[in-house]
Amino acid sequence: MIGAVGRVGAVGGSRGRAAVAPAGPDFTLSNSTVTTDWGRAVVGELVPSGVDPGSVYFVLVGDPAGIAVENG
């Protein structure tokens, strides 16, 4: 299948503006710093993109201590 997936530009350049592929599903974290205590503290919002926000949920991978995802 190598070479059969997509057509990512042509060697030697293309004329005019390159076509922008539609963005795939992605997400961002709105903030990355947090002051913690023994209660709940919000780090930031998980913001979906390229997908209907109401059709997704988030999960943590692994077993990180003291950190969680809230889906609502």
Binding site: R40, E45, V59, I67
Partner: protein
């Protein structure tokens, strides 16, 4: 035993390596002190053969350089200790002094003696009598070189001394001859190469000569500064005569190095026994002493030298004095490999110490033999040993490495945790009553590789003024693979600790005392029912024999632990103070006594009573105080999982089950621990919970993070965010009766009128009202009360199924053991006292998806978050997210 030459000209004993002389004019290190210009001395016990015809000279010990004959016809070209007077170099030995000892030492290519002024020849000590020949009497012959001046300005004397067994001391002293200076600086001359002589015809050792305890000592022999001679008291002490304590070589050297020889007018000097050939039999011809191994071997007709009954006085064959090791207060050292392990002891000279792994005898890397200086008879060693053990400490005399102390064994280095509270804590390790170590009713074995200890005070109440019993300390060892008679809660705690912190010994110090309130401890009150001077906090010292003497429970433990602890563990039910000032006072009083542990963490385990109504001080008030206490501790506080009394002993005291044989409830307390729901389960949980204090990656736990309405308009379904996947056990339905809803903003709660279930992602607990909608300001909580009163849960067989419907972290290991305290904690942190806006979690409209924390942490962390499709769970995106916590 000794060795005896049986025939003339047949055998001699040759050293593997000739012992050469050092440069006596140069400064040397002797007995641990450098920069010394000192001499040496040599001594031996000899018995001359009875009835022998002795009319020539005879060699005792020396060096037969090459077996060649010298100009005088001697086969021994370089000889040292000689018996026999050589009259004017004639080789004629007659008269009363023909058996007078004579001494030669050789400087290569110079002279046969540093004493003569002319041609080579024997060095007569005219002041000596002849040896007691013919009588079969043994004698001690000592000779050597002494600097009676100073290091900067040496003044040398040669001496020889003689003392027959049971007789008196004679000595003679000579100054160096013209060859002396050359000999002093020479470093190729020999000090010793052989015992006896078999070559030639006119200097061979006579048949029947016996020798024992030949020693070569670097340093100066004790000197009589008034009579200007080797101190006769010292020689007498070696010979077993006189009024002073009898000594052998190492006793003498140790005493002179310590400066404790009791003789008058004595320049004690210093010494290092480099060689001591005991010559106790022909099978033991090696030496002891600080020099490298150098053994004698028979040269000649094998079997010509034989074993002989000992000729030395009795004190030479007795048990020698050895260095002492003072047992430490506790053989378990904390600090997890970061603090000194300090051991002290006694000895008259410097010692060497070696730490070794007890199981293998191999030295702990970096802790092999090393000198430790003795001052005023006391030595100590401080070593930062790595986590582990058991270790063995060996100590030996530096001057005589075969003089060893009885080793100190079973030393552990790891983490020590101090447990605070009352009976709930106390009995989780020791069981009922006042058995300090408790009972291992379940026969639980210590995990392979695990090592631990339990420490508990005995007679902790002290008794009244009339019945005072001095409190002491009991310790119990938990050794890998053994099944010790120690409370199985403690063993399980160690085993689970070991599972996540392998080969890291754990010491559980059970300071809790049943029925006592934190406030009494904080105020330093007298221990209830005890001597009025025996208090809770008190001074850092052990209590007296007849009274508490102002010492205290905490003070005693602090003294025992050298005021250091690695971690505190606290669950204080029901008498944890609800007053923040009292809690602060308690903490500060503890810290004041454990001054070497100013930053030690506190693991706070809020009680969660399943067995009793969870109202008032019995339940949620105390739990709330624990949560507050963890917060008040700041960075030192670690809020752990709940300490749950799944099964109590029916005494209403938050006592975990511990009483009976497995599955056989006792007549007194209708519970057992057959399924490990009580003490055993608590212990398991504590092991992991404590480990997590030191390594927060060990596991995580979920809590009730937030709640939102499925449909704001209907207000009949609440979603409680858990943040992590959860589950029930054994396929049970989620119990709704441990879920609580308030319609008055947390002032009151009910646990009826709704159902409960986990949603499809298992990260959300969903409460659905049976009918109608919830009104008012709604808050939710979990486990405010656990409706399993004693009437419903008479024994563990009844209560166990009830536990299945609780919710647990989905991580496999947390499953069945979750409830009673592994760190995976059910919804901890939400159980607060009733109060509007305080208890529980507010139910709101659904908010944004969020990344949250629910524990205190600091620094950079990275987590991976996945975005998945609702319904299918298909992975849509995944990425690491870096956060910075403070």
């Amino acid at each position: 035993m000794a060795v005896r030459l049986t025939a003339v000209g047949t055998s001699q004993l040759n050293l593997a390596s000739v012992v050469t002389k050092p440069d006596f004019t140069a400064a040397r290190t002797i007995a641990g002190t450098s920069g010394l210009v000192m001499g040496f001395w040599k001594a031996r016990w000899v018995r001359w053969p009875a009835g022998a015809t002795l009319n020539t000279r005879y060699f005792l010990d020396g060096w037969d350089g090459a077996g060649a004959l010298n100009s005088s016809g001697l086969d021994v070209t370089e000889c040292h200790a000689v018996i026999g007077a050589d009259v004017s170099g004639s080789q004629t030995f007659t008269g009363a002094l023909r058996l007078r000892p004579r001494i030669n030492y050789v400087g290569a290519n110079t002279s046969h003696t540093p004493l003569n002024t002319g041609s080579p020849g024997d060095s007569d000590f005219t002041g000596l009598p002849q040896v007691p020949a013919g009588s079969g009497t043994a004698f001690l012959l000592v000779e050597g070189l002494v600097n009676i001046g100073s290091t900067g300005s040496p003044n040398w004397r040669f001496f020889a001394a003689l003392c027959p067994f049971g007789g008196s001391v004679s000595s003679a002293v000579r100054t160096l001859g013209t060859n002396g200076a050359t000999w002093l600086a020479n470093t190729t001359g020999a000090l010793l190469g052989q015992i006896f002589s078999r070559h030639g015809t006119n200097a061979r050792t006579p048949a029947g000569v016996v020798m024992e305890h030949l020693a070569l000592v670097q340093g100066d022999f004790p000197w009589d500064t008034v009579n200007n001679r080797p101190h006769h008291d010292a020689i007498a002490a070696l010979a077993g005569v006189g009024g002073n304590p009898f000594l052998d070589y190492d006793d003498l050297v140790a005493a002179q190095n310590a400066g404790t020889l009791p003789y008058s007018n004595c320049d004690q000097g210093r010494g290092d026994i480099t060689h001591w050939w005991r010559l106790e039999n022909m099978s033991a011809l090696g030496h002891i002493g600080s020099a490298a191994a150098n053994a004698f071997a028979e040269d000649g007709t094998a079997g010509s030298i034989v074993d002989e009954t000992s000729i030395a006085p009795a004190h030479w064959t007795g048990t020698p004095a050895t260095p002492g090791i003072t047992p430490p207060r506790l053989t378990f050292f904390g600090g997890a490999g970061t603090r000194n392990v300090t051991i002290a002891g006694t000895w008259t000279g410097n010692v060497e110490r070696r730490w070794e792994v007890q199981a293998t005898g191999v030295a702990v890397p970096g802790f092999d033999w090393a000198v430790r200086t003795t001052t005023a008879g006391a030595w100590s060693t401080s070593d930062v040993l790595p986590v582990g053990g058991p270790y063995r400490l060996r100590v030996r005399s530096q001057a005589d490495p075969l003089v060893t102390a009885s080793p100190l064994e079973d030393i552990l280095v790891g983490t020590r945790v101090l447990c605070h509270g009352q009976s709930g804590v106390e009995r989780s390790f020791q069981g009922s009553g006042q058995q300090p170590m408790g009972l291992n009713n379940l026969g639980i074995a210590v995990a392979s590789g695990a090592q631990g200890m339990v420490v508990k005070m005995t007679s902790q109440y002290g008794g009244t003024a009339g019945t005072y019993a001095q409190p002491g300390m009991a310790t119990g060892r938990m050794r890998s693979g053994e099944t010790p008679a120690i409370g199985h809660g403690a063993i399980n705690m160690l085993n689970q600790w070991h599972a996540v912190r392998p080969n890291h010994p754990l010491c559980i110090i059970n300071m809790a005392i049943e029925g006592t309130a934190m406030s009494a401890w904080a105020s330093n009150a007298a221990v209830e029912g005890g001597h009025p001077s025996w208090v809770y906090m008190g001074a850092v010292q052990p209590p007296g024999v007849t009274a508490g003497d102002g010492s205290g429970v905490v003070g005693f433990y602090a003294w025992l632990l050298e005021q250091h602890i690695d971690a505190h563990l606290i669950m204080w039910h029901p008498n944890m103070s609800s007053d923040a000032a009292v809690r602060a006072s308690y903490r500060s009083e503890i810290d004041a006594r454990f001054v070497n542990a100013a930053s030690a963490p506190w693991l706070v385990l809020p009680p969660w009573r399943g067995h009793r109504p969870n109202t008032g001080a019995d339940g949620i008030i105390t739990r709330n105080s624990h949560i507050l206490f963890a917060a008040e501790l700041g960075a030192r506080g670690f809020l752990g999982p709940q300490w749950s009394d799944v099964i109590s002993d029916s005494s209403n005291g938050l006592h975990s089950a511990f009483n009976s044989a497995p599955g056989v409830p006792s007549a007194t307390f209708p519970v057992s621990d057959g399924n490990q729901v009580g003490q055993a389960r608590i212990g398991r949980g504590l092991g992991r919970a404590l480990a997590r204090v030191f390594d927060q990656t060990i596991n995580a736990q979920f809590r009730m993070l937030g709640a939102w309405w499925t449909d704001d308009g209907n207000r009949n379904q609440i979603n409680i965010e858990l943040g992590r996947p959860a589950r029930t056990l054994n396929g049970a339905s989620v119990r709704a009766d441990v879920c609580w809803v308030s319609e008055d903003n947390g002032a009151t709660f009910v646990n009826t009128g709704f159902t409960a279930a986990l949603d499809a992602t298992a990260t959300r607990l969903v409460l659905t009202k049976d009918s109608g909608t919830w009104a008012g300001t709604v808050r939710v909580d979990y486990g405010r009360d656990w409706p399993n009163p004693p009437a419903q849960t008479a024994d563990e067989a009844t209560v166990e199924p009830l536990l299945d419907g609780l919710i647990y972290d989905s991580a496999a290991w947390r499953g069945r053991t979750n409830l009673a305290s592994p760190a995976g904690n059910v919804l901890q942190g939400t159980n607060r006292v009733l109060g509007a806006g305080v208890a529980g979690v507010a139910v709101t409209a659904r908010g944004a998806r969020k990344l949250v924390t629910f524990e205190r942490m600091a620094g950079s962390r990275s987590v991976t978050v996945e975005m998945r499709a609702l319904g299918t769970g298909a992975l849509l995106a995944s990425k690491p997210l870096a956060i910075t916590a403070s």
